[in-house]
Amino acid sequence: MPSETLVQLENISRKYYLDKTEICALDNVSFQIHKADFVVLAGPSGSGKTTLLNIIGCIDKPSQGKVFFEGTDITNTPIEKLNHLRLKNIGFIFQSFNLIPVLTAFENVELPLLFKGLDDKTIKNLVEKFLHRVGLMDKINEKPSNLSGGQRQRLAIARALAGNPSLIVADEPTASLDRKNAESIIELLRELNDEFGVTIVLASHDPMIIEHSRTKLFMRDGQLVSE
């Protein structure tokens, strides 16, 4: 079990307000994510998986509680100031892939790298390395619309991984895929987790994914529950 802490959450709550009624999406959640871990957030719909994942991914803020990323307290840093942190440390994988339709496979992976201050040659090498790794070298100049669902998610994985993040967050990464593709995506993520030591946190209610994960966190009504 890896021991170094990547993300630490202390007494996190996240409240939404809908016409004065308070919705408590997260209710006093505390836990740590260890480096190189493969974590799944499981639980029924509406239990707060996405909300928690957004906070872990530094694209949302808790209403209460503290968030530490690699030991730094980022609780009070505004989201917009965290874009460098995300660019450098966090990769995102979405349920509906969220690729840029006008960019080719190469360019989709390239885009975040451009803003990291890498030179052209380094970028080219990285893009090709990761497209090769996810098995899309023959699609390097294709637009996402010419790729299958499974290929699109592989491309998204290459984009998330190419920047050498310490964390990848994935919200229901297989929910838009068929069984076969879903399995191969999870397999790929597991391999990448081993290969690069990248921490992966997924939200899913897919038993197959839960089974494949090293750390399993179960949620209900905005709280972490033991199975």
């Binding site: 989201i79 006008v102 803003f115 201050g117 030591g197």
Partner: protein, 442 residues
């Protein structure tokens, strides 16, 4: 661990800002093809605005140029055309004449020869301005008279046909060339005297000695000056007739026409110093055309206001329409914006994409708009559309649109800026949504 170590300092990214700019520009360009219909409309708006503005400015510049040439060659509101520059005795306008022609110009022949030696000068028109009464025997009416050299005056007036082929003003002076002792009257003046061509009339004025003098003259022609008010007192005759009537060999002024109006003030300046050097007998005052063109200047000022107002309205319409279009474009891509923000692109970078998109729409629109303008203005000019007379004027004119290329860069910049500014609507929307909010937006 992987080998793609990233430097901690994001300032490094600035080294690549030009490369990234080019990449974003490419992305913006491709985005134009995502919703072709919408991009088409945006470009159409930009192009229409550009065409409208450049045709308007072409019409403006035709109008202004016509007004200038009318002022120079035919005059407004009470005199014949000023010519490019008028030469007076220095005392004119500073002191008042005690007697007729007291401040007239002497030794005209020699003076004209001297002026003609200036390389810029095309021709010189001597003129006498005089007042008096014109009578049909039963009724006497005051007139304002101009004694002219018909040949040269015809050349001056005739030049207007270059602007408007329908204006054959020179021909109106033809009757003065008959050699008879005769006059041409403004139409309203002739009307009030019930005079017809061929009638004999008496013309009275004062001589240089202050005596009343009269001359029998034949009515050779009746003309409309183009200004109804002027037609009521306008009288034109040969310079010799006027000289005989005033009993003087002097003239009131010399009107000088340069070959063209380029470097105009320099030409006036050099003529002034040339005259000072070569004609010591008299002190001269040179008055360029625009210094005695109050009517032209007031119309020009009104035109400036009208056209600036119109131009601003067009720019505002372009901006608002594109604002709307950029709004829709941004909302349509709000999820993609959320993705880019999650990945770590700054709002600055993301709104740059939209700004560049708008910029490209502006550039494409301007190129199309200018081309359409080229064709459209040719068609308008070829159609020879007859416009009704301007208020106060009695002649219709042919509508023309000039190229006005000097103003086109300003129009292009105006349109491109208006459309680029419209992309601020994207920025407003991007900022209105949180990252999570944009990602969840469907």
């Amino acid at each position: 661990m992987p080998d793609n170590t990233v430097d901690d300092d994001f300032v490094i990214a600035k080294h690549y800002s030009r490369r990234n700019f080019v990449k974003l520009l490419k992305l913006a360009y491709r985005n134009l093809f995502r919703n072709k219909r919408r991009s088409f409309f945006a470009i159409l708006i930009a192009a229409s605005g550009c065409t409208a503005l450049s045709i308007a400015i072409g019409y403006y510049s035709f109008s202004i140029y016509s007004l200038q040439e009318l002022t120079i060659r035919n005059g407004f509101g009470g005199s014949s055309g000023s010519g490019h520059v008028q030469v007076f005795d220095k005392r004119v306008g500073e002191q008042s004449e005690e007697r007729t022609m007291e401040f007239g110009l002497d030794g005209v022949k020699g003076l004209i020869e001297t002026i003609k030696k200036d390389a810029d000068v095309d021709y010189v028109l001597p003129r006498i301005e005089f007042g008096g009464l014109i009578s049909n025997g039963d009724k006497s009416v005051p007139f304002k008279g101009f004694g002219v050299e018909a040949e040269k005056e015809m050349q001056l007036w005739g030049g207007l046909s270059e602007i408007n082929p329908r204006l054959k003003l020179g021909e109106q002076l033809q009757p003065l060339k008959s050699g008879k002792q005769g006059i041409i009257l403004g139409s309203a003046l002739a009307n009030s005297l019930h005079a017809k061509i061929g009638d004999m009339m008496m013309m009275y004025s004062t001589t240089v000695d202050g005596a009343i003098n009269g001359a029998d003259v034949e009515l050779l022609g009746i003309m409309s000056t183009g200004v109804s008010e002027t037609d009521k007192y306008y009288l034109l005759t040969n310079i010799g007739v006027a000289q005989k009537l005033t009993n003087s060999s002097k003239i009131s002024l010399l009107s000088v026409m340069f070959k063209n109006r380029k470097h105009f003030d320099d030409k006036v300046q050099s003529l002034q110093s040339y005259l000072e050097k070569n004609s010591s007998a008299q002190n001269f005052k040179l008055v360029p055309w625009y210094e005695q063109a109050a009517f032209y200047i007031s119309i020009r000022d009104i035109f400036n206001i009208i056209f600036s107002f119109m131009g601003s309205i067009i720019l505002v319409i372009v901006l608002l329409s594109c604002w709307n279009i950029m709004n829709m474009t941004t909302m349509e891509r709000i999820k993609e914006i959320g993705t880019l923000r999650a990945i770590g692109l700054s709002i600055k970078n993301i709104s740059a994409i939209f700004m560049l998109e708008a910029f490209l729409i502006g550039v494409i629109g301007v190129v199309i708009g200018m081309s359409v303008q080229l064709i459209a203005s040719r068609i308008i000019n070829a159609l020879q559309i007859i416009m009704p007379p301007v208020p106060g004027m009695s002649r219709p004119y042919t509508l023309q649109v000039y190229a006005a290329t000097w103003f086109h860069p300003l129009i292009a910049i105006g349109i491109i800026i208006a459309i680029t500014v419209s992309s601020f609507s994207s920025l407003i929307i991007i900022k209105r949504f949180s990252i999570v909010g944009s990602l969840e937006h469907t």
